[in-house]
């Protein structure tokens, strides 16, 4: 369903991604681990097609289309959706305005907000003064409204308190159709996580470790997490190099 081949990306002419390969099948959820600054966010932003991420080489395909150079909104229309790690504030534009854009008339956004206790934010300017956890919730609800087929989540649980974590887990399960059998799901997911807490609420099929702009290691997410917790990323990457 989604494939990246030998992707090289620069930001302001500085190479950040250096030959990424990734393949996600329909119904699967993958996680992306890696040290701060290793290039995880860059990868997601590149998949979404933002202008400062310059693709120097390689190809991104989704649903059979080559989307490598497609404008961002066409990717969104095709079904790529991203929950940002740090979304911008837009003065004067209300959360409900954005939710309506996401829903495109397919869903009453008020009801959605009520369902997740977010109604108090509808009339607030998007992201203005939102707490860390509120930003995550807002990003996820936008994705619920958007209902993308490729779900990209950049640290959806960071800054979320333990109680809300369960709710965040529920919302992610919903966007990824986790309650359906894998063969029946129409979705694929790629989730960046440092803590792996989110994995207590949903199973992931495959984990990738990013190091210096490359995918240095692949394996079962729980195994990777355990390994990293015990011995750190350096060791994890080294071990894999060894395996290779």
């Amino acid at each position: 369903m989604f494939q990246i081949e030998d992707l090289w990306v620069s930001i302001d002419d500085k190479p950040v991604l250096k030959g990424i390969n990734l393949h996600i099948k329909k119904g699967e959820t993958h996680t992306l681990f890696g040290k701060n600054g290793s290039g995880k966010t860059t990868l997601l932003m590149t998949i979404m097609g933002f202008s400062r991420y310059q693709v120097r080489q390689g190809r991104i395909t989704f649903l059979g289309y080559d989307i490598t150079h497609m404008p961002t909104y066409e990717r969104a229309k095709l079904g790529v959706g991203l929950a940002f790690q740090r979304p911008p504030t837009i003065r004067g534009v209300k959360t409900k305005d954005i939710l309506r854009v996401c829903a495109g008339g397919k869903m009453p956004v008020e009801a959605l907000a009520f369902e997740y206790g977010f109604e108090g934010f509808l009339d607030r300017e998007i992201n203005l003064g939102f707490s860390g956890g509120e930003i995550k919730k807002s990003e996820l609800l936008q994705l619920v409204a958007q209902d993308p087929k490729l779900v990209l989540l950049d640290e959806p649980e960071s800054g979320v308190d333990l109680e809300s974590l369960q709710l965040v887990g529920q919302i992610i399960r919903r966007v990824l159709q986790k309650d359906l059998r894998r063969v029946d799901r129409q979705k694929a997911g790629l989730i960046i996580t440092h803590t792996g807490y989110i994995l207590n609420y949903l199973n992931a099929d495959m984990g990738h470790v990013m190091a210096d702009g490359q995918i240095a290691c692949q394996g079962h997410p729980m195994d990777i997490l355990e390994h990293v917790k015990k011995s750190g990323y350096e060791e994890c990457v080294r071990c894999l190099c060894f395996q290779k």
């Binding site: 979404m48 933002f50 202008s51 400062r52 404008p71 961002t72 909104y73 969104a76 229309k77 959706g81 991203l82 940002f84 979304p87 911008p88 837009i90 003065r91 004067g92 534009v93 209300k94 305005d97 954005i98 854009v101 996401c102 495109g104 300017e125 936008q142 958007q146």
Partner: protein, 406 residues
């Protein structure tokens, strides 16, 4: 009229005094003669085209849903009526007669010798309004006041006084506009506002002038203990030049002033807009927020907060969007703290729409153009209670037109 001789004297001395800001206008260039328009109880003397034009300045020409109405066309009062007890509305000339020259209010806040415009307004006053909410009166519906230039090339000289007596509540919507056939003119408007103890005054001013009209308002406001002054200023249509710098004094404990402006500078427009708030009493608070878009004109946003005593809080914000190659935005935020214990801040940002914001919306499925217009719409978002629907619709249309320039 029983106006003090020293006022006249000071005015005479300042007849040629240049203003501190704004292009200097030659007052001789404008005509001072206009037909006398007769009083119009039922609003029957306006053609459809005029009605539409007035609507765009927020003027509905009806006494229903308004606590009071006032309409001055050129130099003549065409309508003046109060519909709610506790509210007094008079043409200023009548008020000066009735109250013996209004010695407590007339030229008490705006210096008559500020510049040649204040001088001219005194030496050749046409008229203006005197609006007063009596002590404790809760005037729930807005008062609609209109200053209308109906004759080509005319200089209209106006002096307004608004008094919110202790504990009263009042909302005035002033629409200033020109006849659809008028392209040039000058509006000189003196306005003095008195917000007394515990009173609440909202003053919304909509400017909808013509391409070659010059505007020189001169306003000052005083707010007593626990009083609240909220001002909204909207100018979205082309005008030759507007220069104003209202000045607010918060003299009583806990007094509050909030000044909001939403401004579009079209090609050929020169808008020099500012505002000063002096916080003279403890626990007083002020907020000045200017949102300015240029589609090719020049826009200057000045703002000055002066904290004179401890325990005051004030914030100044100038945000400017440049949506054309030639547009000029000049933001001049100033803060003066004269003692310790003041809490004052300012924020000024001028530029084009942030790419990051556009792309965020594109990631939600909007095209680049749709994203940009959503952002402009949010930027110019005007939410003021009591604005007539027709005006809101017109604001919406103007925003759409502004977006076309993107």
């Amino acid at each position: 009229m029983p106006v003090l001789p020293e006022i006249k004297e000071a005015a005479v001395k300042s007849k040629t005094k240049k203003a501190a800001f704004g292009s200097d206008l030659d007052l001789q260039q404008f005509r001072r003669q206009a037909q006398d328009w007769s009083y119009d109880e039922q609003y029957t003397s306006f053609e459809e085209m005029e009605k539409q034009q007035l609507l765009r300045a927020g003027i509905e020409l009806t006494d229903t849903d308004h606590a009071g109405t006032f309409l001055q066309a050129d130099r003549s009062i065409m309508h003046c009526k109060t519909s709610q007890p506790g509210l007094e509305i008079l043409p200023i000339r009548e008020a000066l007669q009735k109250y013996n020259g209004l010695p407590d209010y007339y030229w008490r806040l705006v210096p008559v010798d500020a510049d040649k415009y204040t001088a001219a307004a005194e030496l050749e006053l046409d008229n203006g309004y005197f609006i007063r909410a009596l002590p404790g009166a809760r005037i729930t519906q807005p008062v609609e006041a209109c200053l209308y230039i109906r004759t080509e090339g005319l200089a209209q000289h106006v002096h307004n006084i608004v008094v919110a007596e202790p504990g009263s509540h009042l909302h005035i919507i002033t629409g200033c506009t020109t006849h659809p056939g008028v392209t040039s003119g000058l509006h000189l408007g003196i306005s003095e506002f008195y917000v007394k103890k515990g009173a609440h005054l909202t003053f919304t001013m909509v400017h909808n002038w013509a391409e070659n009209v010059h505007v020189r308002p001169r306003s000052a406001i005083i707010v007593e203990e626990g009083g609240v002054y909220l001002s909204n200023y909207i100018v979205l249509k082309p005008v030759k030049s507007v220069q104003m710098y209202p000045s607010v004094r918060l003299v009583g404990e806990g007094a509050v002033a909030r000044l909001n402006s939403v401004v579009v500078a079209h090609p050929g427009s020169e808008l020099d807009l500012g505002g000063k708030v002096v916080l003279e009493a403890p626990y007083s608070r002020a907020e000045v927020i200017a949102r300015t878009v240029t589609t090719g004109g020049t826009a200057i946003a000045r703002g000055h907060l002066i904290g004179k005593v401890p325990n005051i809080k004030a914030h100044l914000e100038c945000r400017g969007l440049i949506l054309a190659k030639q547009g000029i935005m000049y933001a001049v935020p100033e803060l003066t703290g004269e003692v310790a214990g003041v809490e004052m801040s300012h924020e000024a940002a001028v530029g084009r729409i942030a790419q990051e914001e556009i792309e965020y919306l594109m990631a939600r499925g909007l095209t680049e153009e749709e994203a940009a217009s959503t952002i402009v719409r949010g930027f110019l978002n005007v939410e003021i209670e009591g604005l007539p629907q027709a005006l809101k619709d017109d604001i919406e249309r103007t925003i759409q037109e502004t977006e076309k320039g993107l």
